[in-house]
């Protein structure tokens, strides 16, 4: 089997952008491994528009956005293998994979880029009571059935969870003639973008019931009805508030989980908050030469940010290979901590020597904050205090750190990102 400098696990938006960036940074020995039969990942089934406003300054559909990157991969002659499942990544960066043409094979890579994306939270992880009949789908599965295969999962639909995929599918199924009866959301706020609530639900008169959850699923062979109930502040159903909807389909849009089985078995250190790897300024994990980007690192709401992040991972992988051994360099890291409403940051540490002039640090908040401040502290000194009209868990936030600013603070040990009321 041919050897490669850089193996990229996953040919979705993150893997494609990482590959293009690595090639453009001067490396000609790149291989993308993709388990599906085509490149593009989840974008292929996201046929709605709204992608690429940041990257291309125009509104594209998912397949169009993916094609912009697929075309670059093809034009640059970057190698890829489809229908190929990566079985293992060893701590020494040996990648074991298999497909029907090559059988099982190993590639001793110099750098590995993790770009496996994420999976939907399934029913089994939600503790919904009731029967287990046919007709219960994750929203993404339904999206694939409708948009790729051309099948309608059902005609009368209840949706649990107001994540963006659920909202998009509420509109999609309505357009194809289904009746979407209600979208129930456990939390007192929606997990989806405001634009999707208005254009996918309000436009079609679909009610959104916040602080509601499914308490019963009826139907032995196939779903016949779903009962939802209001929940209290403890998120427990309140007796007497039940509403029963007859339906043949229940869609679940209850969160996404980074798909990190391979990372874990490789010994990559994980963040309990993001369920993704802990990375430094180079988007490098605790294993030198193993980088992560896209939804495997932390779940994004905009693909534009995935592309930007993956570009950095690709460039840094090339830098890592070109610089060879790093033992001699400064191993001091500045920690980035998230507290007081900020749930996590990516990256979570900075090596000042390797940091670029500007570094984007992305984070999410744990609640809805109105007229609050994003504050950044260098040790005990507050150096940034930005007022934001609104921050919500469904919208990723970012701050930009300047290398010059960090250098001015000699002996800087810790950067803290927090949300302050004033």
């Amino acid at each position: 089997m041919k050897t490669y400098d850089i193996v990229i696990v996953g040919g979705g938006p993150a893997g494609l952008a990482a590959a293009v960036a690595a090639k453009e940074a001067g490396n000609d020995s790149i291989l993308i491994l993709e388990r599906d039969h085509e490149l593009g990942g989840i974008l292929n089934q996201c046929i709605h528009n709204g992608f690429g406003l940041h990257t291309f300054k125009e509104e594209l559909t998912g397949p169009e956005y993916a094609y912009r990157f697929i075309k670059q991969v093809l034009d640059l002659g970057i190698e890829y293998k489809l229908n190929t499942m990566v079985m293992d990544i060893a701590p020494d960066k040996t990648v074991t994979a298999m497909n029907r043409e090559d059988g099982m094979f190993t590639i001793p890579a110099k750098a590995v880029i993790l770009a496996m994306g994420c999976r939907e939270r399934p029913r089994g992880a939600l503790n919904i009571p009731g029967y287990r009949p046919a007709g219960i789908f994750s929203a993404g599965t339904a999206q694939r059935l409708v948009n790729i295969e051309g099948y309608m999962p059902g005609r009368e639909v209840v949706i649990l969870g107001s994540g963006d995929i659920g909202l998009i599918m509420a509109r999609r199924m309505t357009l194809e003639g289904a009746k979407v009866k209600v979208v129930a959301e456990l939390m007192p706020y929606s997990g989806g973008l405001k634009r999707n609530i208005v254009q996918c639900l309000d436009d079609y008169g679909i009610p959104l019931k916040l602080s509601h959850t499914v308490v019963d699923i009826e139907g032995k062979d196939h779903v016949t009805a779903v009962t939802i109930a209001k929940v209290g502040p403890d998120r427990k159903p309140i007796p007497g508030t039940e509403i029963r909807y007859t339906c043949d389909t229940l869609l679940l849009s209850c969160g996404l989980i980074p798909e990190n089985e391979l990372s874990r078995s490789a010994g990559v250190k994980m963040s309990p908050v993001t369920s993704g790897p802990v990375v430094n300024e180079s988007l490098e994990t605790n294993i030198p030469g193993v980088f992560a980007c896209g939804n495997v690192l932390h779940v994004h709401d905009l693909v534009d940010y995935v592309s930007e992040e993956a570009k950095r991972a690709g460039e840094n992988a090339v830098k890592y290979i070109n610089e060879g051994c790093r033992d001699s360099e400064n191993q001091d890291f500045i920690e980035i901590a998230a507290t007081d409403g900020a749930r996590y940051t990516v990256p979570s540490s900075i090596n000042l020597d390797r940091m670029s002039d500007l570094l984007t640090v992305r984070f999410r908040v744990g609640d809805v904050y109105k007229d609050s401040f994003v504050s950044v502290y260098f040790d005990d000194e507050r150096i940034l205090h930005n007022q934001k009209r609104i921050m919500a868990p469904g919208e990723m936030e970012q701050i930009i750190l300047k290398k010059s600013q960090l250098k001015e603070h000699e002996g800087l040990k810790k950067i803290t990102v927090k949300i302050e009321a004033e």
Partner: protein
């Protein structure tokens, strides 16, 4: 005087907008916290439009469906007429991004174009 209630989509704030109208003309927008809301509300009450995306059945292709969109936004009240035309259409592979699959969909003067490539088998 007529009043319309809207939710602004300009940002996550989701301001509740109240638009006052007289004889089909906007006389005022309240509830917005920035200009985005004002602009959105004025367009949304007088001439609401949307891009429609869907799929069209394809023959001789390496896939079952080709994803499509209206080349520009169409009046909101024509969405289901547009969908009817899209569901009735079929395309023949090969198809390239930007290919016109339906002309003047539902009499809107807008075409429906392919958003992905389908190879011929």
């Amino acid at each position: 005087m007529e009043k319309r209630e809207l939710t602004c989509i300009g940002c996550p704030m989701g301001c509740q907008l109240t638009v006052t109208m007289e004889n089909g003309e906007v006389t005022g927008v309240t509830g917005n916290t920035c200009m985005k809301g004002d602009i959105y509300a004025r367009k949304e009450v007088v001439n609401p439009t949307r891009i429609v995306t869907s799929t069209v059945k394809i023959t001789d292709g390496d896939k079952e469906r080709v994803s499509v969109k209206t080349a520009s936004d169409i009046p909101k009240d024509k969405i289901f007429d547009v969908m009817k035309d899209i569901d009735a259409a079929t395309a023949k592979a090969p198809v390239y991004i930007g290919d016109v699959l339906i002309e003047n969909v539902a009499g809107t003067g807008v075409s429906v174009i392919a958003t992905r490539e389908i190879a011929k088998v």
